[in-house]
Symmetry: C2
């Protein structure tokens, strides 16, 4: 905790987190991200009919240290078998359960500009356990977007639709000036997870989790390494 600072549960590039779990230990945010990485690697292995994997193999595939893999997994239980490794299918199932991606999560996107449209058309999300079927904008130019025909609602209907459709996660791709206002509204409507593509930090109550994806920052910081 940043001492006597304002409340705020964000995290993005910076690390630092908290979160109760079944047990009672705090799980670092970085561990959660790696869990997701492990899940994906396990899915690939499963597709190739591999039935066991060691922490060393997993670590190599993902560019990590094997002790880190074991420690990450140990946060959540004992999944491995000494002298054998981890059973691929079983571990994958357990991790998906821990991540909560073994069910469908309803996702809405707000701000149908170029980037928003792109993400809607992309469709990659719908595979992974997400149902991204709602879009909002202040001006509805097209009634649906993308091959999946995601309907676009007027932003005035935001709270109503979020509540009715039980939307749990929101992707923000609005102009910077609008970000805080929209964030306040979705939080008010009960959303507690936001993926923010807007290059602007937003303030939220502590129970709301915000992840930032900042494309400009990624590009600029790469620029630095061009010597």
């Amino acid at each position: 905790m940043p001492g006597p600072k304002n409340p705020n549960s964000e995290d993005s590039t910076p690390e630092s987190e908290h979160q109760e779990l079944s047990g009672d230990r705090k799980i670092p945010a970085a561990v959660i991200k790696r869990l997701s990485l492990y899940t994906r690697a396990l899915q690939n292995l499963e597709r190739n009919k591999v039935e066991k994997v060691s922490s060393t193999e997993l670590a190599k595939e993902l560019g990590l240290n094997s002790a880190q893999v074991r420690k990450d997994l140990a946060y959540f239980g004992q999944f491995g078998v000494p002298g054998f490794g981890y059973p691929v299918g079983e571990l994958r199932k357990k991790l998906k359960h821990i991540l909560g991606t073994d069910r469908k999560i309803n996702v809405a996107l707000i701000g149908v500009g170029h980037l928003g449209k792109a993400l809607l058309s992309y469709g990659g999300f719908n595979r992974q356990g997400f149902r991204m079927r709602w879009a909002f904008d202040i001006e509805v130019r097209d009634k649906t977007i993308g091959a999946e025909k995601v309907p676009v609602y007027n932003i005035s209907e935001l709270e109503q639709v979020v509540r009715r459709e039980n939307i749990e996660l929101v992707i923000l791709t609005v102009p910077a000036e609008a970000a805080q206002g929209i964030a306040d509204r979705v939080v008010g409507a009960g959303v507690s997870a936001i993926l923010n593509f807007v290059p602007k930090r937003i303030q939220t109550p502590p129970h709301v989790k915000v992840h930032y994806v900042d494309l400009a920052i990624e590009m600029e910081s790469l620029s630095f390494y061009l010597r």
Copy 2:
């Protein structure tokens, strides 16, 4: 260039970096990302005709600790004035120079699928000091993409165009199976910075910097916090 089996200079979500600078100290990757954040905040201040800013104000705006702001900046020199703060315009210029975004960097995007198309149409990059005017795919469906009419080349022309146009940074949005092969080719053609949207770790020689943007991971890890 199929298999340089080198270590690896990537970093993405995980922290850990190094990089020589004018002086001789290693600059953590997280510091570089925050530098980019500072630059943006300074640009906003400048737009509002603010002429000075203290580390405390900057920290508050970005949700950081003021000592961290000072320390980050101190990696690169003494920009502040005790009892006064930092001169906005001057600091912004210096940071842009440090980041190397005070010149135009040529950027190509490889893989014109949904996401690739979206990023091309988005156009947000071209503002910040990047010139994203080349796209590649194995199959050229449209000759140009987006309002900016970015020409799409056949992937067979990759090396030739990269060299001719002096492309320094590449955005990868190809299918996972193709990622490593394409990465090898662009590196072979002289590119040393890659922004990889493909959910697959790629191996590169140490001088090549890879940043990962993994949308699925962001979504999944948010899912965890939905309890």
